[in-house]
Each structure stands twice: as structure tokens, then as C-alpha cells.
């Protein structure tokens, strides 16, 4: 329930920010959206506390599913790189239409 609520709030905030005109706000919106999706990926595995999935020690019945965690890890790395790139875009373009020209 907490997870679903957090995802909902993050998506709502992310979509709102993404629809703003300033580049920095768009970047913030993107960060929120990607966090929301990361939480969804996490919840695709089991979210309750489980053992580390190490072959030698763990029992498959109690070990966590490592695949969603690997997905999230990859997604975080990608989102991080893209965020930095978007921030450079925000810097490179001083005029981002935030002011009304009239």
C-alpha cells in the first residue's frame, strides 16, 4: 500500500513537472518519474525482506529475486547519465521560453 501510494505521488508530481516550461523543472519531473518506475520494477520482485541471493548459502525459498534488482540498477545508471545530459542542455540553452515574450 505504501509502495503504491509512493508510486502514485511520484507519477503525479513527475507528470506535473514534466509539463512545465523550464528545463530544470522538466529534469526534476523526469527524475521523479524514473524513481516511480524503479519502484514498480522493485515491486515486481517480492518487496518484503528476504535473504541475499547467494548460491552457496541461500535457500531459493527465502532468497530475494535478484533480477528486478539488476533491472533497477541498470535503469538507475541510465537515468543518471541522461539526467546529467539534460542538465547540460539546460545550461547550454539560457533561453528556455519561461518568460512571455510580449
Amino acid at each position: 500500500m505504501t509502495l503504491a501510494l509512493s508510486i502514485g505521488i511520484l507519477v503525479a508530481g513527475g507528470v506535473f513537472m514534466l509539463l512545465q516550461r523550464g528545463m530544470i523543472r522538466i529534469v526534476l519531473g523526469f527524475i521523479m518519474l524514473s524513481h516511480a518506475v524503479n519502484l514498480i520494477l522493485m515491486s515486481a520482485g517480492v518487496t518484503s525482506r528476504r535473504d541475499a541471493p547467494l548460491m552457496a548459502t541461500a535457500d531459493p525459498a527465502t532468497a530475494a529475486d535478484p533480477l528486478p534488482q539488476a533491472f533497477v540498477l541498470t535503469a538507475i545508471v541510465i537515468a543518471f547519465a541522461i539526467t546529467i545530459y539534460m542538465l547540460t542542455l539546460a545550461v547550454a540553452r539560457s533561453d528556455d521560453d519561461t518568460e512571455d515574450p510580449s
Binding site: 514498480i40 520494477l41 515486481a44 532468497a63 533480477l67
Partner: protein
């Protein structure tokens, strides 16, 4: 094993060739980045790498005709490890895209030599271009949904950099829109992957094809539509196409050309792959047909209204995506085969057209149709180079555009439904309107008296040469259309029967051909190679 045995093995089992189209450009990108002080060395590395990719793709194209070539990456068996699968569809796409990227690379080299690289930092261009090519190859070869996502991200990250190359105001404005739209589509794709994994417990395409039919039909539909939405943004299908004509024309000519040829087609490829393999019952067909209809008509009306030759060609690109979606939506072997043929034809023609438009801009000093003129007299060779792909795009017989369209229309008539027949009509109208838009561009740019006589100049020979070779490639598709059409029909037949794909990845529908032991069931090992890949981009 003795060396002759190894040699024999390497000739009979070609699975070692499968990763080359991804690995070679990626390693070359790292090497090119390390040698950023030596532009000459960078150029040699890029050309050699892409030539190797082309040769590897051709090898796979021949090999895959006997059946899919599968590689378990790191020798982990299929559902656990990541698979690269080269079947008829992916190798055909791979070969055409490799040929096109090589031509565009040579064009851009010539442009760089002629311009002294003003405003385009070449040190960045080559590594990014190679990463783009690796990402495209990875997307085509991936047998795993998450790896497909990684391939998309690789090519997108590279395309962000290429689109904003030089960092001029206009490019950054267009680039920002492109980046934000692509990000939204990536997030939807990732969301779909998360939900698919939650519903089925796998992201391996072959295993998904087995497991998806077992889950609730409502959930299936949600997953199908989410994937379609993500890919439709990438493929620029109306109403998700507005970003394309706005962002493509601002980039340098070779970049626009390669984007127009490849990026949208990767989206189309992903739609074909997921719709045929994962959701073969075609529940989204009506939706796709309506989308195809609107894409064709709205796209071409946009093209008719344009007064800038680059924007005009960008709108025709959107419009012709509609034809490919039409073929997919028919859900018949004939329609799918024609659609695949059309994709291969369209990659070469659209890229060639953008390269030639780059030459027109150079020769005439403008892309506005009001300021261009008299080019047929000033540059007759350029006029021929424009005329051939333009007529090919409009679908004038006997060129390949006509053959692809005729195949699609036949498949539409064979389907016989009212919506399919409407689409046949719309296809003919779109074809005529394409001809109208192209003739308008031709009249103004090549035949009208030049408002301002452009200064006499010679176009760099290598630029004309590479553009001409791409035009010739487009024409040669016409020459080999018979065998090629058979090939695409066979590819479609494979796609319509997902069992062949599944069995080649998971023999006995259980486990792949790799040698991982049962103990290693839950290793995340296969994810690891993905991360360094992403870091190289920025």
C-alpha cells in the same frame, strides 16, 4: 580440439558472429574516444569497424535463412542468461542498416574534409556514431526484452548527442523536445517491462511467448498496449509523431539521414517482433489499422503544406511509417512480408533522400523552396540523384517503392475487411500525394528560375559518391526484388509461426543450448555487461 576442428566448427556454427555487430562498434567507439587527438585514426577505426559489421551482417543474413542463429551470452542457458537471436527479420534489418550507416559515415567524412569541421566536434562524432550503430544492432539482435531496452537506450543516448552536436541554439531547442519525448517513451517501455516481469516472471522473449498466453487476457491487453505505446512514440506513429518533423531537420545532414533511416525503423522492428511473437492473436489490429490510416494521411498532408525541403522530406517519413504499420496490422503472412520489404526499401530510400537534400542545401545555399531554383541546369547529376529516390519514395514503377506498395495493397485486398479496403484506398491516395509533394519540391528547387543565383561551386566528390552509392543501393533493391521479396515472405512465415523462434532459443521449451548448471539458476551475471556500455555514451 585440433585447430582444423576448431576452424570447421567456426564455419558450421556461426553463433560466434552474432555478437560482432554490437561488440565491434562498441570497442571501436572506446578506441576512437581514446584517440580523440588523432582525427585520421578515428576515421580509419570507424570505417573499418562498420565494414566488419556489414560483413558480419551479410554472413548472418545467409546463415539465418537456414534457421535462427542463437548465442547464449556468457554461455548461460536461455531463460537465465541473455540471448542474442539472429533470425531472418533481424538479419535483414541488420544488413540494410549496416550498409546505410557505412554510406552515411563516408558522406560525413567527406563533409568534414570539405568543411574543415567547422562547428562539428569530430572528436565526439565518431565514438557517438559507433555507439549509435551498436545500439541499433543490439536492438535488432536482442532476444530479451530488457536487453532490447538497453539497446534502445544506447542508440537514444547516442542520438541525443548527435542531434545537439555543436550546441547551437536551434539544435538545442529541437534536441530538448526530442530528448523529453524519447524519455517519456523509454519510461513507458521500462514500466511495461516491470509489469511484464511481475505478471510472468521472465523477460526472455521466447519464454514470454510461452507464458503470456497463460495469463489473464485483460492483463495481456494492458501489457500489449503499453509496449505498443512505447514503440509507437519511437516509430513516430500518428498521434505520437509530432516531435519528428520538428526535431530532425535541424541536425547536420548526415545525422538527419541516419536518424530518418534507422531510428524510426527500430521502433517498427520492435512492434513487429513483439506483436508477432508475444501477442500473436492480433487484438490490437483494428487500433493499428486506424493509426496506420491517420499516420499516412495526416503525415502526407503535412508534407504537402511544407515550404522547406528538409521539413517536407521529414513529413513524408512520418507518412510512410503508416504503410509499414498497415502491413503489420493485417496480421497475415502476405501483409507482414510486404511490410518487412517496405521497411528495408524505405531505410535506403529515405536515407538517400536526406543525403541528397543535404547536397541540395549545400549547392543552393538554402533549404527553403522559395529561395532554391535552377538546380537542374546548375547541377544535373544532383538532379538525377534527387529524382531517382524521390520517384522511388512516391512508388513509381518499376522501382522498389512500387513493388513494396503493390505487395501491401494486394495483402490489403486479400484481407477484404472494410477497414483494410479503406486503407488500400488511403495507401493509393498517400502515394499520389507523395508524388505531388515531391514534384512540388522538384519544380521549385530544380526547375524554377533561381531567385538568387547560387555561387558556382563543385560539390565534394566523396559526398556525391556516397550519396550516389546509396541511391544505387536503393535501385539495386529493385533489381534483386524477386529473391528479396521471397526472403521477406519467408521471414514473415517464420514470424507467423512463433514456435520456430521459441524452439531455437529454448529447445524442449525448457532450457537453452548454453552450459549453465542448474545450481546457477539465479545469477544476475548476465546483466553486468550492460552497465559499462551506458557509461561510454556520455
Amino acid at each position: 580440439m585440433t585447430p582444423p576442428d576448431l576452424l570447421w566448427l567456426s564455419l558450421t556454427d556461426l553463433s560466434w558472429v552474432v555478437p560482432l555487430p554490437v561488440l565491434v562498434p562498441l570497442s571501436a567507439a572506446g578506441l576512437a574516444l581514446a584517440l580523440w587527438r588523432h582525427p585520421k585514426a578515428q576515421q580509419i577505426i570507424s570505417v573499418v569497424a562498420l565494414t566488419v559489421v556489414l560483413l558480419a551482417s551479410l554472413t548472418l543474413l545467409v546463415a539465418a535463412d537456414q534457421g535462427p542463429v542463437v548465442l547464449d551470452v556468457g554461455n548461460w542457458a536461455a531463460p537465465v542468461g541473455i540471448d542474442l537471436v539472429a533470425d531472418r527479420l533481424s538479419t535483414l534489418m541488420l544488413t540494410v542498416s549496416a550498409a546505410v550507416t557505412l554510406c552515411v559515415l563516408i558522406y560525413s567524412l567527406a563533409q568534414g574534409l570539405a568543411d574543415g569541421n567547422r562547428g562539428t566536434p569530430v572528436a565526439i562524432f565518431h565514438p557517438t556514431y559507433l555507439v549509435l550503430s551498436a545500439g541499433v544492432a543490439n536492438a535488432f539482435l536482442s532476444g530479451d526484452l530488457f536487453n532490447l531496452y538497453v539497446g534502445f537506450e544506447m542508440l537514444l543516448a547516442a542520438s541525443y548527442v548527435l542531434l545537439t552536436l555543436g550546441g547551437t541554439g536551434e539544435r538545442i531547442r529541437a534536441g530538448t523536445i526530442y530528448v523529453v519525448v524519447s524519455l517519456v517513451s523509454s519510461i513507458i517501455f521500462l514500466l511495461a517491462i516491470g509489469l511484464i516481469y511481475a505478471a510472468t516472471g521472465t523477460v526472455n522473449l521466447a519464454q514470454l511467448a510461452i507464458r503470456l498466453p497463460e495469463i489473464d487476457p485483460g492483463v495481456q491487453l494492458v501489457l500489449q498496449l503499453l509496449l505498443l505505446l512505447a514503440f509507437a512514440i519511437k516509430a513516430a506513429i500518428f498521434p505520437l509523431s509530432a516531435w519528428l518533423p520538428d526535431s530532425y531537420p535541424t541536425a547536420p545532414a548526415p545525422v538527419t539521414a541516419v536518424f530518418a533511416g534507422l531510428l524510426t525503423k527500430v521502433g517498427v522492428y520492435a512492434i513487429i517482433r513483439t506483436q508477432t511473437l508475444l501477442f500473436p492473436d492480433g487484438r490490437a489490429d483494428t487500433l493499428l489499422m486506424v493509426a496506420a490510416l491517420l499516420t499516412m494521411v495526416v503525415g502526407i498532408l503535412g508534407a504537402v503544406a511544407q515550404n522547406d525541403i528538409k521539413r517536407l522530406v521529414s513529413f513524408t517519413l512520418v507518412s510512410h511509417i503508416g504503410y509499414m504499420i498497415f502491413g503489420i496490422a493485417l496480421s497475415s503472412e502476405q501483409g507482414l512480408g510486404a511490410s518487412i520489404f517496405y521497411v528495408a526499401h524505405h531505410i535506403t530510400v529515405q536515407t538517400a533522400l536526406f543525403l541528397v537534400v543535404g547536397l541540395v542545401e549545400r549547392r543552393g545555399g538554402s533549404t527553403s523552396l522559395d529561395q532554391l531554383g535552377g538546380l537542374a541546369r546548375l547541377a544535373p547529376l544532383l538532379a538525377v540523384l534527387f529524382f531517382v529516390p524521390a520517384m522511388n519514395l512516391a512508388g513509381i514503377p518499376p522501382l522498389s517503392g512500387f513493388l513494396g506498395k503493390a505487395g501491401l495493397l494486394q495483402a490489403g485486398v486479400a484481407d477484404g475487411g472494410p477497414l483494410a479496403l479503406t486503407l488500400v484506398g488511403a495507401g493509393v491516395v498517400t502515394s499520389l500525394l507523395t508524388l505531388y509533394a515531391i514534384v512540388k519540391a522538384w519544380n521549385k528547387a530544380f526547375w524554377q528560375v533561381a531567385p538568387v543565383e547560387p555561387a558556382p561551386m563543385r560539390l565534394p566528390r566523396a559526398m556525391v559518391g556516397s550519396a550516389a552509392s546509396l541511391v544505387l543501393l536503393g535501385v539495386s533493391i529493385t533489381v534483386v526484388a524477386g529473391p528479396m521479396y521471397d526472403y521477406t515472405q519467408r521471414a514473415a512465415a517464420t514470424l507467423r509461426d512463433p514456435n520456430q523462434y521459441i524452439v531455437s532459443v529454448l529447445p524442449d521449451r525448457a532450457r537453452g543450448a548454453g552450459v549453465s548448471s542448474d545450481l546457477a539458476e539465479d545469477t544476475p551475471d548476465a546483466e553486468l555487461p550492460d552497465e559499462p556500455v551506458e557509461e561510454e555514451d556520455e
